[in-house]
């Protein structure tokens, strides 16, 4: 049984279509990330699932219960969904404890039991001491945990998180992501999480759906999307990419301006096909060699790694290396062994609708 099943939904805002025939499925206890630039419809999808926005066509089922469909539009208060907003949306006129208890009002009348459940929920998010405070007296991270406790107390089986980490300091962000991920997993809750940051997406999600203009470009495990993108859009969105034009030699190799590059597994492209070879900065290796085929144009020391711009046979490549090279160095450029990603030219021209950085 899927936690959430979306079939071909359409949403529009002020007459402008935002979501266009979109389908997506989230499995039980899975964390799905919706990644995309702002204004691409991620938040709209979240609000459509929550019942906060009207859906003009298509179906939404939550745990096999249809909540949107022909003639069906369940009001938000009956969907049993937890939602964390970007600004946490804590009620400023209520204490932390009252905020957490807010959703129990219609479900639980027994005061002792309510108190016990507040304590339990606050314990869960490590805020047991702060029940008497008001939201404006808390830090951003604490406010967010209150928002989570408030959602958890209603025992939702699906949690929606809208840019939950965007207001958190970078120093604590990754730790918080780990904590919340563990919490959701521990409670057996499925979650959909919206972000525009790929780092957050990689760290938080089981599965990643990359959005582009109201549609999903590719869904899958984060590593899969990073390593084997279906399109240059996905490749570029998830990290720096070099494209080197080349021609398929046989099932396992491509010829490029700087020589033959071998793939660990089959390319799946017919020999002779022209196209672009995707090379991530980490997949290129440099070795110092006075007679090398490449020349270092520029280096930036970034602490954990060094960004290096290399020219090799008329092709400029972004390379990431550990330690800076001596100034003005001649290098040998090679490709680390891996499964190559190759985009045939025909596909590139049909897919490429946005201007992209040309490195090759």
């Amino acid at each position: 049984m899927a936690a959430l099943d979306i079939k071909g939904i359409c949403c529009s805002y002020n007459g402008k279509p935002i979501l266009d025939n979109l389908s997506l499925s989230v499995a039980e206890n899975e964390i799905m990330c919706l990644l995309g630039a702002s204004g691409c419809g991620k938040t709209t999808l979240l609000k459509a699932v929550a019942g906060l926005l009207p859906v003009s066509r298509g179906e939404i089922c939550i745990h096999d219960r249809q909540v949107n469909g022909p003639g069906v539009a369940l009001v938000p208060e009956l969907r049993n969904i937890g939602m964390i907003f970007q600004d946490y949306a804590l009620f400023p006129h209520l204490t932390v404890a009252d905020n957490v208890a807010f959703g129990l009002a219609n479900k639980e009348k027994n005061k002792t039991r309510i108190r016990a459940r507040i304590a339990e929920a606050l314990e869960l998010v490590n805020l047991a001491e702060l029940g008497g405070r008001y939201p404006h007296q808390l830090s951003g991270g604490q406010q967010q945990r209150v928002a989570i406790a408030r959602a958890l107390i209603c025992q939702p089986r699906l949690m929606l998180l809208d840019e939950p980490f965007s207001n958190i300091d970078t120093q604590v962000r990754m730790r918080l992501i780990g904590e919340i991920r563990a919490l959701l997993k521990g409670q057996g809750i499925s979650a959909i999480f919206v972000t525009h940051s790929k780092e957050e997406a990689f760290a938080f999600s089981d599965k990643l759906a990359l959005f582009r203009a109201g549609q999903i470009e590719q869904v899958g495990r984060p590593q899969t999307l990073y390593q084997y993108p279906d399109s240059r859009f996905v490749a570029d969105f998830l990290g720096l990419a070099n494209y080197v034009s080349g021609q398929v030699l046989d099932s396992h190799s491509v010829s490029t301006p700087f020589g033959r590059v071998d793939s660990v597994s089959a390319l799946g492209q017919a020999a002779g096909t022209h196209g672009q070879l995707l090379l991530r900065p980490r997949q290129i290796q440099l070795t110092l060699a006075e007679q090398g085929n490449g020349r270092v144009l520029e280096q930036q020391f970034l602490g954990s790694h060094t960004r290096c711009l290399v020219e090799c046979q008329g092709v400029r490549l972004e390379v990431s290396i550990n330690e800076p090279l001596p100034a003005v160095s001649q290098v040998n450029v090679s490709v680390a062994p891996h499964t190559l990603t190759f985009f045939p030219d025909a596909e590139v021209s049909s897919r490429q609708t946005e201007p992209m950085r040309k490195l090759g």
């Binding site: 609000k47 019942g51 906060l52 208060e77 907003f85 949306a89 400023p92 404006h136 209603c154």
Partner: protein, 540 residues
């Protein structure tokens, strides 16, 4: 101490403007004269009671009118909302005494409504049926509520609009129906704003003179007026005015407190217009009927009646008096507006040059007058000015000159000074807020470029705050055009402003003849509402 001149003159001016309040307090602390004792043991308790119930009833009624309208405008989709949300503030332009007159005319025994009812049912006299009397405390409360509810409407609407959509959506996802969400989230969050609106309503009610006087409902305001004009006792009038001053202080502190809470509750988060509840069928009809009903009763109907009278009695109204009194009002208002803005620039610049917290104090002092009800202020102005008039005449006598007469209270000086005290706050506020928007680094850069303070003000500040200066002057001008109670008490003999002229027609029950000047007052009152609306629309 190059800037001593600025400091001395700004403190001096501020103190002159606080003179009426100081005089009131001083006079109130003097031994009590018999008249006050007499009033205190006879009618005053009743007046206090009337005032209390009136304020309470007006607050209740304006809440009843303003709050639902605010919620509908902020949260629902309605056809014609763009117009409606503006039209709902129109009653604010209507002087309450005009509305009072119009409805008395309509609903009295001899009015068309009761006459029609009698004709319909064949009744012969008032003993045969019951019709709620309008010339009562309740009637006054309804009339005042009708023109004052926009305060509650405006503040509540802004509060609802500034509540984050996320909060409402959150409450829905946590299991609230729209009604529960209103009760548990929207309303508690808007409460401080509503309290601010209600305290403004209370202050306006307390200050109202025209309506209660016309309806012969005795309140503290009419008591001040009658004690001065009837008994000629400044001391007793000052004591009653001091009681009102206490109430005003109370209301003001309530307003201040609410504003503070408002800041915590309204952190102006994004409000996207997507929660708009779509009303359909009967609910939509009821909502539209409710809002347009308010606009019609509070503005459109009285205004239409005024227009009808103005056209019908045009020949009688279009006369030399109308021109004379219009000119009086125009001249007086322009004079006061200029003085107020000069003063405001003076105080604002003086504070800007010094830049310390305490240098803002003259501005606060100069703004105190705004909270004073017109009658209270008038008494406060009369105390020092009559004193000075006597002193001047004594001095002339001592010097062997001819007595100059009442050079202060017998001329436009008193009324102009009174207006200045009452409305300086608006000019000061306008100038202060626009000068605060000028970045302090501009001052520093001007000084490093070699300009002294005078040149800096003339070449940098004044050009940058031109709009604020204009707006401030306009606001003062408009308020002066509308002011009634202070004018009634401070005007020289045989001198009329448009407002007192219109009020005379109202109290003679002949507003038909005064409809033309009344329309002028209403139209002048509309100007700030247009500004208000524009600034609101820019906000959202």
């Amino acid at each position: 101490m190059k800037r001593l001149g600025w400091t001395v003159s700004s403190w001096g001016l501020a103190l002159v403007l606080t003179l009426p309040v100081l005089a009131l307090v001083y006079e109130a602390l003097l031994p009590t004269e018999d008249i006050f004792h007499h009033l205190w043991s006879t009618v005053l308790p009743v007046y206090i009671g009337n005032t209390f119930w009136l304020v309470l009833a007006v607050m209740g009624f304006s809440l009843l009118c303003g709050l639902p309208a605010a919620w509908l405008m902020a949260m629902c989709e309605l056809p014609g909302k763009r117009w409606l949300q503006w039209a709902l503030i129109l009653p604010l332009a209507m002087p309450s005494y005009i509305v009072a007159f119009v409805y008395t005319d309509l609903l009295d025994y001899s009015g068309p409504v009761q006459a029609a009812l009698r004709g319909w049912f064949g009744w012969q006299s008032s003993t045969e049926y019951y019709f709620p009397p309008i010339r009562t405390l309740g009637g006054a409360a309804i009339v005042l509520g009708l023109v004052l509810y926009p305060y509650v409407y405006l503040l509540a609407r802004t509060a609802f609009l500034e509540q984050s959509t996320n909060l409402i959506q959150s409450s829905r996802l946590l299991g609230c129906t729209p009604w529960q969400s209103f009760k548990r989230v929207s309303l508690p969050l808007a409460r401080p704003s509503i309290a601010v609106g209600l305290s403004l309503v209370a202050m306006e009610t307390l200050a109202d003179f025209g309506t209660v006087h016309f309806f012969a409902v005795s309140t503290l305001t009419t008591a001040v007026y009658d004690t001065w004009l009837g008994y000629g006792s400044l001391n007793a009038a000052a004591k009653i005015a001091a009681i009102m001053l206490l109430v005003v202080t109370l209301l003001l502190s309530m307003e201040r407190m609410s504003r503070k809470r408002q800041q915590v509750f309204q952190k102006t988060m994004e409000h996207e217009q997507e929660t708009g509840y779509r009303l359909t069928g009967l609910t939509r009809l009821a909502a539209l009927g409710y809002c347009w009903g308010l606009v019609t009763i509070g503005f459109l109907l009285p205004f239409a009646i005024l227009c009808y009278h103005a056209v019908y009695y045009f020949d009688q109204a279009w006369n030399a008096k109308f021109f004379q009194y219009s000119a009086n009002s125009l001249l007086l208002s322009t004079l006061v507006a200029l003085l107020a803005i000069l003063l405001a620039v003076m105080l604002g610049m003086s504070h800007r040059l010094k830049g310390r917290a305490y240098t803002a104090l003259p501005m606060r002092l100069a703004s105190m007058g705004y909270a004073l009800p017109g009658t209270v202020l008038a008494i406060g102005v009369l105390i020092p000015l009559t004193g000075m008039d006597f002193a001047i005449n004594d001095l002339a006598l001592w010097l062997g000159l001819r007595e100059p007469g009442l050079v202060l209270t017998g001329t436009m000086t008193a009324i102009a000074f009174g207006y200045l005290v009452r409305f300086a706050a608006m000019a000061v506020g306008a100038v202060e807020s626009s000068i605060n928007k000028v970045s302090p680094s501009l001052d520093m850069v001007t000084q490093t470029l070699g300009y002294g303070p005078g040149a800096m003000i003339a070449r940098v500040h004044i050009p940058l705050i031109r709009k604020g200066i204009l707006a401030g002057a306009l606001l003062v001008f408009i308020e002066c055009m509308k002011e009634l109670p202070a004018a009634l008490l401070l005007r020289p003999f045989n001198f009329h402003t448009l407002a007192t002229y219109v009020y005379q027609f109202v109290s003679d029950e002949q507003l038909e003849l005064g409809a033309l000047p009344a329309i002028v007052i209403v139209l002048v009152g509309l100007i700030p509402l247009i500004f208000l609306n524009r600034s609101l629309e820019q906000h959202h």
